[in-house]
Symmetry: C2
Subunit: 102 residues, 2 copies
């Protein structure tokens, strides 16, 4: 598996609009096991995107999907910055689909 945690800071006042764009079309990405968008409780402009993919290549391929490229284009003007990005090797746990989880 391959994972990403990213904090995206929206232009002030645009967090929910950016969130809606990020949530569109997330069901059709091959190899995507998890894609969750969350508001930061303490930082009013910050969103966190948590992604888990079957393979790193699946994530890279998703960036070429028309729906994803369209969302990136529409979301870009609402983004003030990428505040944090962590690459993960997800090991296991509860709640993920697939044989490695409980």
């Amino acid at each position: 598996m391959y994972g990403l945690i990213g904090r995206i800071d929206a232009v002030p006042g645009k967090r929910d609009a950016l969130m809606d764009i990020l949530l569109e079309g997330t069901a059709g990405m091959p190899g995507c096991l998890l894609y969750v968008v969350s508001r930061d409780v303490d930082a009013p402009d910050a969103l966190w995107v948590t992604e888990i993919w079957a393979r790193k290549e699946d994530h890279q391929a998703s960036l070429t999907l028309p729906a994803v490229r369209d969302a990136i284009g529409r979301g870009r003007p609402l983004i003030a910055g990428f505040a944090q990005r962590v690459e993960l090797d997800p090991v296991g746990g509860h709640g993920l689909p697939g044989p490695t989880t409980g």
Copy 2:
């Protein structure tokens, strides 16, 4: 929903041992929708725990479960520090169980 992202730094050399403890018993926590433990690809002692709960109260109640208290007790000597902790309001996405996800 209620979410948490936390980075835990293990005592050097003890990351995998700490990971195994964190993964034990994660299937039996009421209200837990997701609990994933991941290795940080770039920081050799760092683990990331990503949690999503139906309600904040479910997370708080989990800390009193015997299996969780036991794991906390066994894991504590392997922890060098809690490097980051972010509280989340998860909004939606793909891969979560329940009616709010795609």
